[in-house]
Assembly symmetry: C2
Homo-oligomer: 157 residues x 2
DNA sequence: TGCTACTCGGACAAAACGTGTCCGTGTCAA
DNA sequence: TTGACACGGACACGTTTTGTCCGAGTAGCA
């Protein structure tokens, strides 16, 4: 099982956008994180489609959050980029093969799928409990002020 | 994010092995579930390497559980087939790019990675809480006795 | 005790997915 | 009106996952 690498980029971008006052171009975000500009653009498009960020075109354009960072959870970002489908998909193999359970007698859901779904819900709940604003606040308190100011200035330049 | 499809096969096989008294060949497990025998064999090898099942070669050989099903959790099976590595791997992109945080001032772990790890632990904890024996018991109570008996007979034949 | 048949185990291809890149289109500022 | 900049979707590449095959080893049987 592997989560798309773009998830990490998207989360960091949201944290940066949370602290930026003006729209930030994709190219600038890519240079800041030292990642492929084209590929990061794709992830930002996913965030845009999900309605988490909004793009402004033309000169001095870029991306900005559509709503307050306290209203955006990590789960929102993860699902926007990685998709909402759960990692485990029950294929109902008990209904196949020579000893298949007939569909009409197959009333209760597969216990394996039920536990898997429950685990997936727990995972998502953990991510839903943390907002981008909280992440940004933690970054602010753990990073030396000087570095933060320099980064802000670099973004605006 | 997607979990290996073999995980579902492995779990169902463990449940079947829990109820079987004698070793069951991989070919029989494959036919029972109507899946590719060769590919299922690969998954069973993973379970064997992890020490969950033990193979007996030669005539009337096959696979059996190495210990009581109550001592085998779903997490054991999932990790045996899918691997133990967490789905999210922090690449420390904050240490890259023009505004990189110097390594010596980067003392606290990345907050994003911390939340991701916490969510992963919650997921694994959910799976660790359920044993193969519990799954088998649920299957026993929700499946008509007649079907269970027929399946047992078919396995022994 | 040798043989035979049956079993697993690891090495070998094919396909699907994620990753990475490109250029066209729309939009804002001058 | 013009120009340039930034986004958006369509296009290849690489890697992982999926799927398959044949050889090695072992237990039962004559």
């Amino acid at each position: 099982m592997k989560l798309s690498g773009g998830v990490e980029w998207g989360l960091h971008c949201c944290v940066v956008l949370c602290g930026a006052g003006a729209p930030v171009p994709a190219a600038k975000l890519a240079e800041l994180h030292d990642v492929s500009p084209s590929y990061l653009a794709k992830q930002l498009q996913s965030l845009s489609r999900a309605g988490l960020v909004r793009s402004t075109q033309g000169q001095s354009g870029g991306y900005r959050l559509t709503r307050d960072a306290a209203e955006i959870t990590m789960l929102d970002v993860v699902e926007a980029i990685d998709g909402p489908q759960p990692p485990f998909r029950c294929t109902e193999i008990r209904r196949r093969g020579p000893m298949a359970v007939p569909p009409e007698r197959c009333t209760t859901p597969c216990p394996i799928a039920r536990v898997m779904d429950s685990a997936d819900r727990a995972w998502r709940e953990s991510l839903r409990a943390v907002t981008i604003a909280e992440l940004a606040a933690e970054v602010d308190t753990t990073t030396p002020r000087e570095l933060l100011d320099r980064a802000r200035a670099w973004l605006s330049a």
